[in-house]
Assembly symmetry: C3
Homo-oligomer: 343 residues x 3
């Protein structure tokens, strides 16, 4: 429970209306009840927020009508996110190594670390200060996990994986499994040993049941600030830059490079040896063929992927094929008539 | 081992032929051996069943020829399913909390519950009578699991998830992980706290390694009787109605609503804020763009998804483009000839 | 550390240059340092290898210029793979059943087997000589795992699954979960009991978090030598032949047959009751509709999948639709002019 004044101070906002209003919780506009605060990021959501039962609204400066007290900020959603973190405390986790956890004596465990029941930490690994590891996790040998991270239950991290600071790994994710590398020999496939590693930067989030393979000879790399959703596949030797966003069920094949700030929609497939330059965007289910380069800032869609504007234009023509076919039929009819006349 | 009379009584059928025939097991038509019963759901499978080595056939009333004893029922596959359950006993599970399971003292465990080795149940959670939880499961705090359910091994259920009665969750599934919500701020992404929950109705089945995220502020909801296959992704705030069928590797993005009785094929992608009305069907790999409404009972296919009849018509025209192009070329040739004549 | 002579002998190669060169490790061409060996499989990579800091190159006989010592072999990548295995020792795993593992007294454990912490092996199961099972695995009842295999952590293997020799199963994979089989009855869906099993041949590799369902009444079968990537879904009653390669996130629906040597790209969707004949190839994201037969050796792409040559031809025409439309417009204009003249 906070006053609006306190919440506003937290986010550097300006209160319009009764700053002593007491706020008990956060809500979506749809489900707001008295005592909650909601956020609006534009005129439309603001008018819904005003009509809701919420007691206060976080809003941009441009929205300022109505009877409810407001907190004005430049980025209402970001400010609201901070209020959520303030008003909805996360469950306190006891900061200790559970008595059933098996931590190798050569591992280094920081202060304020929690390691859950039935987890294992292998030889030579380290877990940074304040990191929380859930139950049932398998952390291999020579793994480095930075401080202030969270590894949820049933995660498997293979040997030699290096994870930065403040990284969140959701349940069931597998980091560092062998890349899918085989050598054909007379119709059979022999394993190409996967002896590289995985390097994950700071402030990365990895979704539930996602898989990030180790490099074959080198590293698979995920840059700082990149966010990866659930069930995403990242193959060996992929290099992903900083602050990328990769939605659920997307797959990235071997040796592909993804530069900073790239956004990939859900179920996108990126083949091997592709380069996606900084700031490019691939729409959901796009398929980017082997070796392709997607230029800086381009937005692509479809399989094979092409610029969105081209995709839309061609798609409209495809949908209009019945009409084009009719026009061709009509031309043929007219021409046959002319042929009759002129013959 | 049952007589045909017993099996027929079980399903409310009518025996034609020797009702004392002894049945030892069930089989597919392809692999039937003497002593087994098979089912046929139409003329074609019935004639294969008659030709098989099976000792009896469950069949619709319309199929009644041949020398084998029959059990006539309205829904042969359903009746057969009941016979399978009768003739193939599932492995008896010892109904006890394994001595290695860690159940918080504030948790409520019903009667006849099994909790497997190395599983944890957090504070304030409850497990209903007769529910079986496998080994290696992590059940968080404040979780409710109804009676007569099955949670297979290595499942992770985050805090606050509510699961109804008779729900089956297959191995490796993750329920209640954080939704993929971030706020952009100057090229970086900040986590939007995911403080909602997940509510799963009765008689739901969730496939292996599927992921169902918790709501951001509200609930992610799965209605009664809905069946979800393996590796399916369901994002935050999705609302799914009753008796839907969602095939493997399909992904449903945030805040999408799926009404009752919807069927989604495999690898379908549904973007955010979509509404799929009752009884609609999306074919495999269909892609439904953001904000789209799929009307009641419609069947759609393709990316972007469009009505199946339109998809097929346009697809046929696309495949015929070589011919259309030739016709245009021929028109140009003829016109040039006419031009020559008339000039 | 080995001499080039030793490495060459290992792979049956021929050394050109100083056979006493000492090799400490392997590297990719991009990251080679002195003391490492690299491989080249053609002129282009050979010239990069020559320019690199590597101390020696494994190369085909056709590549033989330059100052660096060479090992000539018929299949450089295969030879190099063997050198990697020789030069990069895998971490020694203590061959014992961990004191926390729960192995049913009726299970048969071979010699030289490792079973990790917190794993369970159910009644009547067997683990062959030399097989390594990681931590947190759930191995059900009546499971057979052949010798010299590796089951990584947090894998779930349901009752009755049979796995051949030298099989590698990566973390989080689920083998033998119920197939997705339900019987509709008045708008509700009833479970069709899944009482079949899974049979996996020798030398198979199964990727992280992949799911292979048990047959409904019969077996789901994976043939010898088949390699399956991460997050792949294989439904009930699927039969896959020998030496197939199935890339990440591909899904194969129920009762489909895939013959020997088939290659499926990433995110391919194969519907039910499909037959893909020997040696056929499906490009990434291809969608193969229900009941379709893909003929021996064919390469297909697109949804619905069609021969690659046809796909490419039609795709080019689609991309050229703006031009075709212009040509039709021009024809109409010309025809209208002719009409004026001739009327």
């Amino acid at each position: 429970m906070r006053t609006l004044a306190q919440l506003s101070a937290l986010v550097g906002g300006t209160v319009t209306g009764d700053a002593s209003t007491v706020i008990h919780g956060v809500a979506s506009i749809e489900n707001a009840v008295p005592g909650t605060i909601v956020f609006a990021d534009g005129e439309r959501s603001f008018s819904l927020a005003v009509a809701s039962a919420a007691s206060a609204i976080v809003a941009p400066a441009s929205c300022n009508s109505g009877p409810k007290p407001l907190v004005h900020v430049a980025n209402p959603k970001l400010a609201f996110a901070r209020m959520v973190a303030e008003l909805v405390p996360s469950r306190a986790v006891e900061r200790r190594v559970h008595e059933t956890a098996i931590v190798d004596e050569s591992a280094t465990i920081g202060t304020g670390v929690a390691i859950g029941a039935w987890s294992t930490v292998g030889p030579g690994s380290s877990v940074g200060d304040g990191t929380v590891i859930g139950s049932g996790c398998s952390i291999g040998a020579g793994v480095r996990i930075g401080p202030d991270g969270v590894v949820h239950p049933n995660v498997t991290i293979y040997d030699g994986v290096r994870i930065g600071n403040r990284v969140v790994v959701h349940a069931g994710a597998v980091i560092g499994a062998d890349g899918f590398g085989f050598v054909a020999d007379g119709g059979q496939f022999h394993k190409f040993p996967q002896v590289g590693d995985v390097r994950i930067g700071d402030d990365v989030e990895i979704g539930a049941n996602s898989t990030i393979d180790r490099g074959a000879l080198d590293s698979t790399v995920i840059g700082d600030g990149t966010k990866i959703d659930n069930l995403v596949q990242i193959a060996h030797n992929v290099r992903i830059g900083r602050n990328c966003v990769i939605a659920a069920q997307t797959g990235i094949s071997g040796s592909t490079t993804i530069e900073d700030g790239v956004m990939l929609g859900g179920q996108v497939g990126v083949a091997d040896h592709v380069r996606i330059e900084a700031g490019a965007v691939a729409g959901a289910q796009a398929g980017i063929p082997s070796g392709k380069i997607i230029r800086k800032g381009t937005m692509v869609w479809g399989t094979p992927a092409r610029p969105m504007s081209e995709f839309r234009k061609v798609f409209a023509l495809v949908q209009n094929l019945p009409s084009l076919k009719s026009r061709v039929g009509e031309l043929e009819r007219r021409l046959t008539e002319i042929d009759k006349k002129t013959s």
